[in-house]
């Protein structure tokens, strides 16, 4: 967690080593709620990318002027504004998707990833670093969502990104598109991630 | 197995090793140095503290160099070896001296109550049921607090043991005499002798002797651990002993039949506690109940009973549920040893421990109403506050839970660990102002 990391390092760090979902367990509501198909998951990732970029950039730009006790207030204001813009954009241009995502787009306001990045990184770093950080974290978030959505969409609907990939005889696992399937998939993928992590650290260690 | 065999006297062994610390409380100091001659009933250890008891020589002989040894209970103590020499009572004479002969109820009226406790202390009497708590302390605090009832505990503390049973059959009068004396020392409490309903012959014997004394003989259900105070007092009186409390808290004092007989002997004949009745049973050739000197090697007792059978695998001092396994056959008999149980290989062989499947058999059998499996799990994971919430400290360590456990989990050991740890935590908390 050194603060003198280059933008590139920041970017890369967000993808795997500090993956917001698997490593930091942040932003769980959308991770579970919108991952029953890839399209929704990727739209959500896009929205998060937009909000995180915007918030990180604004916070980073004004970081020198920020009084500590007003910090959270400013963060919240900024995030809420960007979320509103994202929400309206979806409603205007991707109406069915906006309906599908429903309240989970406004819930980005309280998504811990964004507050956390503003607090940990953007309020201390230059805009370039902040943007790299935001992109890295968003990409990590997107990858996490994609992994869960892939499992859930394939098993639950027999498709991936709407394209049928399992044979027609496949009986969809309805549970996978329901909340229970989301929790179970998340739990097991988290287990696999931890397991891979330990294997990696073991091989590194010796 | 041994309830039908009358009490036999162990012939005076050539040598005894008398541990000084055989009871709960402060250890006595040795008073007979090496090479001194001691006579039967002479003090080997004297105590300064109140909660303590002196130790006496069970035979006449020469004191050898003191040693230290660790008793099966884990207590480490100085022991005084005595080699027998000179005249020692044996056989019938010894039995008569200790249990037999005439016990005159009339003489009790003349005894000063304060005198009783003093004699009891001087005779080194401790709870012979196995708890080994100095009896005089019990009597004195009972008198201070005032008790209504003295219960003579005629329930064997463990399965297989028959020493108390034989005692009640063969020395009923001595037992009742001791009970009357103890009740007098407590300030005139009523007396009930509690006997399990599988010992009706003992009930008859006691009732015969009790005629005209006002002593009640109460039969209770035969169910381990009825010999424990916490079970016995409610069974006899219907009063529950509060958690962490003593029978005294409900106006009751409990003494063992052996203790009662020892009191009678100490007060009426001036004899010290030097012998006790021990059940030797299990895989020995002639199981029986022996009157044996305290300090005699277990080997002597086993040899007297015809030696152990070839399939013997473990010898337990005490009973099979709570007793301690002997690592050494020369371990001396102590005041608290009520039996030697020789277990066969198939008795002690254990299957491997498996996971708890929460079948709750331990909960069903726990006489104290605890949840042993959860305490054990808490102890295993060192979650002491959880063990505390589960009332681990109330466990009486009867072993019922481990006996029934289908997963063969050493529940008692784990709970003992929790108890010890909780006591420690409480102590440190008390020390910190």
């Amino acid at each position: 967690m050194t603060d003198d990391a280059t933008p590139l390092e920041r970017f890369l760090r967000g993808i795997i080593p500090e993956n917001p979902v698997y490593r930091q367990l942040l932003g769980l509501c959308p991770t579970l709620a919108v991952t029953n198909n890839m399209k929704a998951a990727m739209t959500m990732s896009g929205a998060v990318l937009f909000v995180l970029l915007g918030a990180n950039l604004v916070v980073s730009l004004i970081r020198g002027l920020l009084k500590p006790h007003l910090r959270i207030l400013v963060f919240t204001l900024t995030i809420a504004t960007f979320v509103t813009i994202a929400d309206r954009f979806l409603a205007a241009f991707m109406y069915p998707m906006s309906k599908e995502l429903g309240p989970y787009v406004p819930l980005i306001i309280v998504n811990c990833i964004i507050i956390c990045r503003c607090e940990v990184c953007a309020s201390r770093q230059s805009p370039a670093v902040a943007i790299a950080d935001a992109s890295g974290q968003s990409l990590g978030f997107a990858l996490a969502l994609a992994s869960i959505a892939t499992v859930r969409e394939i098993l639950g609907s027999g498709t991936w990104w709407g394209i049928r990939i399992l044979p027609a005889g496949w009986d969809n696992w309805v549970i996978m598109v329901l909340p229970a399937g989301a929790f179970l998939t998340m739990g097991l993928l988290l287990g696999i991630a931890n397991w891979l992590g330990t294997i990696r650290s073991e091989t590194k260690g010796y | 197995m041994s309830s039908g065999s009358p009490i036999r006297v162990l012939p005076t062994p050539p040598r005894v090793v008398v541990p000084l610390r055989q009871h709960i409380g402060a250890p006595p100091e040795p008073v007979a140095g090496p090479k001194t001659l001691v006579s039967f009933g002479q003090k080997l250890g004297e105590c300064r503290a109140f909660v303590s008891a002196p130790v006496h020589s069970p035979l006449s002989g020469t004191v050898e160099r003191h040693t230290t040894l660790t008793l099966p209970t884990g207590i480490r103590t100085v022991a005084v070896p005595v080699s027998a020499s000179g005249d020692n009572l044996s056989g019938r004479a010894l039995l008569d001296e200790i249990l037999g002969g005439d016990w005159d109820y009339e003489r009790i009226k003349d005894v000063d109550p304060d005198e009783i406790a003093a004699r009891v202390q001087d005779a080194g009497i401790v709870g012979l049921g196995g708890a080994t708590f100095p009896t005089h302390v019990k009597l004195i605090s009972a008198r201070e607090k005032g008790v209504e009832l003295l219960i003579v505990n005629g329930c064997e503390c463990e399965p297989y043991l028959t020493a108390d049973h034989r005692m009640m059959l063969e020395a009923a009068r001595a037992v009742l005499c001791g009970a009357l004396l103890a009740a007098r020392a407590c300030g005139g409490a009523g007396i009930a002798v509690a006997v399990e309903d599988n010992k009706l012959d003992a009930v008859r014997a006691l009732e015969r002797e009790a005629a005209g004394t006002g002593i009640r003989v109460v039969t209770v259900k035969t169910k381990y651990p009825m010999g424990g105070e916490r079970e016995l007092v409610p069974a006899v009186t219907g009063r529950l002993i509060p958690s962490g409390g003593l029978p005294l808290d409900v106006g009751v004092v409990v003494i063992n039949v052996g203790t009662a007989a020892a009191i009678a002997r100490a007060v009426l004949r001036g004899g010290a506690l030097t012998h006790r009745v021990v059940t030797v049973t299990g895989a020995v050739h002639q199981p029986g109940n022996l009157l044996a000197p305290i300090g005699a090697a277990c080997r002597d007792l086993l040899d007297f009973c015809g030696g152990i059978k070839p399939d013997a695998a473990r010898i337990v001092a005490g009973g099979p549920m709570m007793g301690f396994a002997l690592a050494d056959l020369d371990t001396p008999l102590t005041k608290g040893t009520s039996g030697l149980v020789v277990l066969r290989r198939e008795d002690v062989e254990r299957e491997a421990e498996t996971e708890c499947i929460r079948c709750a058999r331990c909960v069903d059998v726990c006489p104290t109403g605890l949840v042993p499996t959860k305490i054990a799990l808490a102890a295993r994971n060192e979650l002491w506050d959880r063990a505390e919430k589960l009332h681990a400290s109330d466990c009486i360590e009867c072993g019922c839970c481990a006996y029934v456990c289908p997963a063969r989990i050493p529940l008692v050991q784990l709970i003992k660990v929790a108890k010890a740890r909780l006591a420690e935590i409480r102590r440190t908390a008390a020390e910190r102002p």
């Binding site: - | 040894l69 409610p234 529950l240 498996t354 104290t368 063969r408």
Partner: protein, 335 residues
């Protein structure tokens, strides 16, 4: 133990096979985990026999497939986790049997396979194996496939006894009641000549096995007693308010998976509370939830959900019903 110096220290060798161990030095021999599992299997025999009789090859095929799947998934997972094998305790077999008996005969093979695997893996292995699981593995498996394959889990047919080969398509008694208001005669419910999951149709078989289990002490009688008590009270109250002659409280007691659940599923010791009061609470809770689901929810039957819900509450129930030690109020401890 004896570390006294000198000649007191007799070597152990003199006493040929002296072994030292902690107390108690004896254990009750008539019980072990394996024996308990064997008891469950014995108790299930009447149910299994009836299911063979009524569902013929469907029953044989499902029972075999589920047991094989459960055992192999457990064996495989334990190897993957590098833990000692646990097949020999027999619990996977019991899970497989109960899971299969809770399936409708017409369920496709993959439903059985996935459910059995999910039950053992999600219901048991991830918690660390036997004794550690919170939820009844068989019910986890069944709930998984019930939600995943709702269409396949509707019991849609069974083999008629009279003809032996034809598949009779008919609704289960509870579905018929819920959707069409039709009753089923008590005799059918008792003997099991109705449609339903493999093991649930015959109330009589469940009772016989259940009584054996309770008499052996392998299952705590308090749990089924609590379930049946709650169901009786609630269904009687409802019956008094709104009498339905074709569906009496007795029907409620003997239809569906209630008896199978009360005696074989709810009594799974691992996932039920250990305290006496807790077991009553657990049983009554299951009975109440079953009636709630039967009367109100979209599902015709609710034993599986009720068992899972009460499983989840079992740790709480246990915690809230810690018995006071004999004669004790916890606050009154002597210093």
């Amino acid at each position: 133990m004896n570390n006294a110096p000198g000649k007191e220290n007799t070597p152990l060798a003199q006493a040929p096979t002296l072994s030292v161990g902690p107390s108690p030095h004896m254990v009750s021999r008539d019980l072990s985990t394996r024996r308990m599992m064997a008891d469950v299997i014995i108790a299930l025999l009447p149910v299994i026999v009836v299911s063979f009789y009524i569902f013929r090859w469907f029953a044989i095929y499902h029972l075999l497939l589920a047991v094989i799947t459960c055992v192999s998934v457990e064996a495989l997972s334990m190897r993957l986790l590098r833990r000692p094998p646990t097949i020999q305790d027999g619990s996977a077999v019991v899970t497989g049997l109960i899971f299969a008996l809770s399936l409708p005969g017409t369920a496709p093979w993959y439903v059985n396979l996935i459910g059995a695997a999910a039950g053992i893996f999600l219901g048991k292995v991830v918690f660390g194996g036997l004794g550690q699981n919170i939820f009844n593995p068989a019910m986890v498996g069944r709930a998984f496939v019930m939600i995943a394959f709702p269409a396949a889990m509707g019991a849609s047919g069974y083999v008629s006894q009279s003809t032996g080969v034809d598949i009779l398509t008919s609704a289960t008694p509870l579905t018929a009641l819920k959707q069409m208001g039709q009753g089923t005669s008590l005799m059918h419910l008792l003997m099991g000549d109705t449609n339903g999951s493999l093991g649930e149709t015959s109330a009589l078989a469940c009772l016989v096995g259940g009584f054996y289990l309770c008499a052996r002490g392998t299952a705590s009688w308090r749990i089924p007693a609590g379930v049946l008590l709650a169901v009786t009270i609630i269904s009687s109250a409802a019956y008094l308010i709104h009498p339905t002659p074709h569906w009496t409280p007795l029907h409620h007691l003997s239809a569906g998976a209630l008896l199978l659940g009360a005696f074989f599923i709810a009594t799974d010791p691992v996932t039920s509370p250990v305290t006496r009061k807790g077991r009553w609470t657990f049983g009554i809770g299951i009975g109440t939830l079953v009636m709630l689901i039967r009367y109100l929810s979209g599902y015709p039957e609710g034993v599986m959900f009720s068992v899972l819900l009460m499983n989840s509450a079992a740790p709480l129930v246990d915690r809230l019903t810690v018995p006071l030690p004999l004669g004790g109020s916890p606050g009154k401890r002597k210093p």
